[in-house]
Symmetry: D2
Subunit: 309 residues, 4 copies
């Protein structure tokens, strides 16, 4: 949560090639909870421990990729203020009326110079995590179904103009730069990790010629043991794994990257250091980014740089 | 970090009965890093992964307990604004000049209705965590010395007038109520857990007749495995353990409570759920607080209610 | 597995006060797999990763406790040889015909000087662990149902004449003494931990005036994280917990002790050091047995010494 | 430990290209304990929790690889009996006098049809694990120095005539076949995993045209968390990592493969299932051996098949 009132990654809408195959994957393999379907055919999911109605929405399409990524803000006043701030900065915004997504209020939509569509919204129905608010247990049975991450954690997006994107996030939306990878010549950033609060990142961007590409949506696991269990379940279900299990040097987080049936990469992520906005940015030189990506192996996997959806 | 600009628990100053015995304990058993001693005899420590100069300060005295607990705020403007807000709320504040604590700027001090002395400050020298800012390793050798928590996480304080304390934290300082234990009659709160950001708590208070008492300062561990290692090291050093290892129902965190050589309780803590300010408060009924305290054992350990310093 | 051909703890038959309540407990809370019921009303269970038909059998009775504890031996020749060896040692043995227990061959039964009934047998139908023998996955879905230990690991039995029991196990059956607790006067053993192979213990005995008592049957967990999960499930099901989660000093193993609905104690156990028969025995002095029992707390819990079934 | 009296992998003697560089690596990076140097220049190491004088010995040579691998047997009578059994089977044996290796008794040496030199011995001085035998702590400070495995666990050896090797281990030495990978045509075994007791493997062999090659020596870690820590330390010390961290499908064990400075592969290993000699062998088809090697990735890494020393 930023001091501007941006709270957290709220929802991602992702395109899939075969809806029912994808529902099976997200519900029974990744272990998300299906919370609804709307008239346009979209299917809504949440992680078991999330309290809002939905955080991950899929729709059938001819190509995989990300439709938009939405940020939950504190309240309606914050939404209006950030809308005005974006416009004042020179960014065109659009209002999507309440109800266009299930159980979700009005959204402010805008497009980043990287080609990604972002949204802000202040209202989404709280459906709870299946645990009573009085004398709550630490977890529910949903935690044993599939990989069962606890929340949508962040996304890594590939596109052009990352320096401009960084300015919008830091100067308008209240994010700060936690880590970065330098370009090979050291004069710019090849990739940036941005936090709006106390997470090691809420969103990250990498410079890439094609606009609006999705590298991965990331889901948070509770432990390194749970990352291992995630890898087991991936293999049992012949999910194609990209990288991991391993530790990232960047963020210190533990990870497996894999692909959904449509070729959208996702991550099961655990850990990471715990920054605050007054902390100095950490920098990775490009020649050492292999260690930043895969700390034990010190290997810059080719797919990380080239495969997106 | 609250939207008011309160970032985090910054420092605790704690009284000890024998300074050198305590230095040995905090440095070699708990595994803090000693960062300085001042002219008044105080010894300054930090956790290995903290970047500020110090987070835990001890001084020799005739009785154990907490002198004060300080909060790092965003900047000088925030400090002045919060000072004014506190005064406007009716709380008397005092300025402690920069330099009174080593490497620490001016502090705004005030006393809570519970009798605890709080401080706000905007400046403390960054000394780093011993890891370079360029191509950083995930940890340093300091992580292997003693219990080696990664940060001062929170404190639980016992005193009267907890309802008034809650109002100050939520209405002036920007905290929110994450969890609470009801009084036996259900009409009030016996204990409250307050967060200023995305942690399950930054400070907690329990109603107690005697003012200004310390229940425990808590140090964050990286895993349940590290909590076990902490317990091993406690036993190897004949540290008196109070409760644990176990899981709290309240917060879901994993814990060991133990006492320093002077009788100040401390906690080695891991985990907990991950709230945001829009989340509904979770409530524990007093008759079930045993489960809230020690989830597996469902036992309301007598010492938790009665032993403070 | 001992060089004598004693392989492992094979089955425990335990008395319960209410059969269906106990079936619910062992199947859905402890997470054993029910594998059969016989004409006498006994219910048979195995741990999910065990391959033999059953390892834990319950029958309804007026009092809780252990009927007998059985050892799987290598083959029929071993069974006959050990029977002869026991008789040669002066122990009266009895043959229980094949089929008296479901899917179990002939058993050689004898009573220890501690009052416990032991059995040896060479045949029990292999029903497998639910995972194919070709291209096996590392685990099956059964691992997510209840506490889900992977095997019956050992038992601790209370009774008189422990020194004589030790001689039978070491001189006839091929066990060796891994650890022991001295009596307060240091002249004898208050408790002994015996291994027939490479486990830190396969059975343990403590000196106790009343014969034939069960302290606990122990079930093996895969990790310290799984011990925590076991404690969570115990609390969710209001299972009375005795001690833990904690680490034993004796064996180094991690543990929770709790009671089944009839008052039979059981343990969820992880870890322990890895001895061989040529290793020297480790000794705990009685005055330090608190540390041996509960390493972090260094506490000799009263229930450990006095509550048996 | 087999019923024949073969207890465990006792020592490996490995050739290194630069002795002092290797001493640094094995002592400070892998975290073995140096226990001696002999007149021939060999350096002796043990894992911190092992009790025998040494388990891993290096000597300087022009090429990397394994000189021999030794098995601790129960006693002198066992040594003589196994020597006779080997000779009766048609294997030529040789006696190496006591003292040729530091603190080690007489050895029976023989060469396998795969070209590997094996040894049996009954005596090696117990130097202990640095923890007292009375009231022992669960670990010593040595556990925090480097990767710090707890024991030499097993080795995987590449060479011809694996079927003949299997017969020697199972028919003479008392091992049993835990898992195997079929050849592509399914008519034979490409690799075999053999246990002499209750470990998932004590030694493994893979069919390979060149005799006497070392694939890896494996060192046992205490947890999946410790495997992660091992990977961190490898990266901090620019150790070349081959595969992992990951889980093997074969054995279920968790692993990192890496190379010492001379190109000898080693493994940091945790876990694995817990077989007994009566368990049925598990089989991996060659087309699925990728899953057997790297369970999450289902990838048959080329180096696994081709890089040996």
């Amino acid at each position: 949560m930023a001091m501007t009132g941006v709270l957290r990654p709220g929802h991602a809408q992702v395109r899939v090639l075969d809806l029912e195959e994808s529902v099976h994957f997200y519900r029974d393999v990744l272990g998300l909870v299906e919370t609804g379907r709307d008239a346009t055919g979209r299917v809504y999911f949440k992680c078991w421990d999330e309290r809002d109605h939905s955080s991950y929405v899929i729709r059938q399409a001819d190509s995989a990729g990300l439709d938009f990524f939405g940020w939950r803000v504190l309240d309606k006043a914050t939404l209006d203020r950030l809308d005005a701030d974006l416009q004042a900065y020179g960014i065109k915004t659009e209002r999507i009326p309440a109800g266009e997504m299930l159980e979700t209020g009005e959204r402010v939509r805008f497009t980043l110079p990287s080609g990604h569509v972002m949204e802000l919204y202040a209202e989404k129905t709280k459906v709870g995590n299946g645990i009573p608010l009085v004398n709550p247990a630490p977890w529910s049975k949903a935690r044993d179904h599939g990989i069962a991450p606890i929340r949508l954690d962040h996304a890594l997006l590939y596109g052009p103009n990352v320096a401009e994107v960084q300015k919008i996030f830091t100067e308008v939306l209240g994010f700060y730069l936690v880590e970065r990878v330098l370009t090979p010549d050291g004069n710019g950033n090849a990739a940036i990790w941005l936090s709006c609060g106390q997470k090691v990142h809420d969103v990250a961007f990498a410079e890439y010629p094609e606009p609006g590409k999705l590298h991965h949506c990331s889901f948070l696991m509770e432990s390194w043991d749970q990352v291992l269990r995630a890898g087991d379940i991936m293999s049992m279900n012949t999910v194609p794994v990209d990288i991991g299990p391993t530790r990232h040097g960047v963020t210190r987080g533990c990870t497996i990257y894999a692909w959904d049936p449509s070729g959208n990469r996702f991550e099961t992520f655990f850990g990471g250091h715990l920054p605050y906005p007054d902390y100095e940015t950490m920098t990775w030189t490009f020649d050492n980014f292999g260690q930043g990506l895969d700390y034990p192996q010190r290997k810059l996997h080719e797919t990380f740089l080239t495969v997106v959806s």
